[in-house]
Point group: C2
Chain length 323, copies 2
């Protein structure tokens, strides 16, 4: 339940659990650590997301403007995951001399403006090492959607198609240039703010998370928060066209574990979503990818009905800077 | 008027002015860029403050816990400057392997708890370079105090004594160990939350700022925001006892330009503060250090009445990492 910290498995998440697991909470804090964002009184929602050069991106891959756009889009995606409407953004930036900080901020302002938010503050420092950008996002909602409402029998859905951003990273890491589509997915992801608001207005969503770690990991967070098992149907996964150059096994790995798609993964009563209406409204697909059942963990079932647990491992999206 | 960006002179501030000077603001944003914190509807106040290893501190100087304490104290000081009551904190941290992230967060939690706030979220990454901590603070106030209310004839005050944190940095930079008092001022500064709330409850404060850049620079920000000149009386400056090892000129330089005292500088009608009552209530001094007049800039007047403009320059608190 939202007050505690129910994350899926993983060393990073073990540490987060320990760090935020203590302390007294003021009455103005309605939902504390453990979800995509904290919820405060009067419907305010706040989250923060840090982008570190050579961990989350490389400067050789992106323009300074794209680095800012991507950093803020990832943070705004956390507001989408709560079905919150973005209001404003604060930006802290530690920049080495070679970085054009105004270009970084132009990218941040562009994606913020695209969802109706403005930059209202921040902090600026030089960096003796990597470019580090922390983006704080504030939004509002009367109906925050948490990770913890999934129930056995529910259906699991994702927006958009998966794996393109991870395909770009894997291609860059191999010393090649990604396709324009894969590159754009990594450089300028779209926070699904309008889509999330619409889903919530139809009152069909029981739980939601955005896909930053990869569907396997993020479905694991959602399942852990809800105390349920999630089974993904391999033949239903909406693989990105940008995965064309990869074989079937590698495509599945990138779609499940690549991360940083910044699509929504959400859970509803069976067949509650009008797929055609959603697509015509937003120009974005929505796909039923699995089901919720009693138990724990994330499972993958193939066309023959073979069901196996899947881990987060495989593709290390924290490793973009490792040589 | 808080809506624009009225900072004192300096290259960093030129850049901040350009970065935040654009964009449409949502109606939920009541005070945008240009003050110590942004003010949102329902009385919420938010600010963010980034601490970068080898820019704002060195790991050889402080324990990991002190690094966290200091980073969060500086951020909470921005809430004090608005006379806001802290509610919660979010922490983003990019940490190299040698850093004990749990110790950093223990320091953050300690100072947050000392002013009634809890950690409600954050982000954690590895860093391929320096330790970088961004602390987001949220608080509430019905009466945010801005930088822009100073009027000619007002008196200028500061809490506490000045220069101890800068004395510690200058001593470390000289390869020596600072005194315990100087070290504590740098490692564990006290955000003046209760003091600020009290001053505002007495309705005596026209404008306020916290001392992060140094009295010369921060009084400059306050004066620029208010459209007035500020004259500081050199013989009234409350120099810290920790400056004992420095000569008069160096002590004045550290007190005026050293920065990171995290005391309050505020402006009132003449003689509006009961100095004895303040000291007995908080165990902290409050000192009248100058006056507000028509004009611009920050001026220093000596016992003979000689009045000279003072700049921010001299001690570069951004240079802690320069060798």
């Amino acid at each position: 339940m939202g007050c505690g910290v129910n994350l899926g498995p993983g060393r990073e998440f073990d540490l987060i659990r320990r760090i935020v697991g203590e302390g007294v909470r003021a009455p103005e804090v309605q939902i504390g650590p453990g979800d995509d964002a904290a919820v405060l009184s009067d419907g305010w929602v706040v989250s923060t997301d840090m982008s570190v050069e050579d961990v989350h991106f490389r400067r050789a891959w992106l323009s300074d403007e794209e680095i800012g756009y991507r950093a803020a889009a990832g943070a705004l995606s956390d507001l989408a995951a709560m079905a919150a409407t973005p209001v404003c953004v604060l930006v802290s930036c530690a920049a080495p001399p070679a970085v054009d900080v105004e270009a970084v901020n132009a990218g941040i302002r562009e994606v913020a403006a695209s969802v109706g938010a403005s930059v209202v503050g921040g902090d600026l420092s030089r960096s003796p090492g990597p470019l580090v950008i922390d983006v704080v996002v504030l939004g509002r909602t009367d109906w925050p959607v948490q990770r913890n409402g999934a129930e056995p029998g529910d259906h699991v859905w994702v927006t958009g198609r998966l794996g393109a951003a991870a395909a770009a990273v894997r291609t860059w890491m191999a010393g090649e240039e990604p396709t324009a589509a894969a590159r754009a997915a990594f450089a300028r992801p779209t926070p699904r703010v309008a889509e999330a608001r619409c889903l919530v207005e139809y009152e069909v969503v029981d739980a939601m998370i955005d896909l930053s770690d990869g569907l396997a990991g993020d479905a694991g967070h959602l399942g852990a928060a809800s105390g349920v098992a999630i089974t993904l149907e391999v033949d239903r996964l909406p693989l990105s066209d940008a995965l064309g150059a990869f074989d079937r096994a590698e495509s599945l790995d990138l779609a499940l574990r690549g991360g940083e798609d910044f699509e929504l993964c959400f859970v509803t009563d069976p067949d509650a979503v009008d797929v055609e209406d959603f697509r015509s409204r937003f120009g974005v697909e929505v796909t039923r990818v699995g089901t919720v059942s009693e138990g724990a963990g994330v499972w993958l079932v193939d066309a023959e009905g073979k069901r196996e647990p899947i881990g987060r491992g495989g593709f290390d999206h924290w490793g973009a800077g490792d040589s």
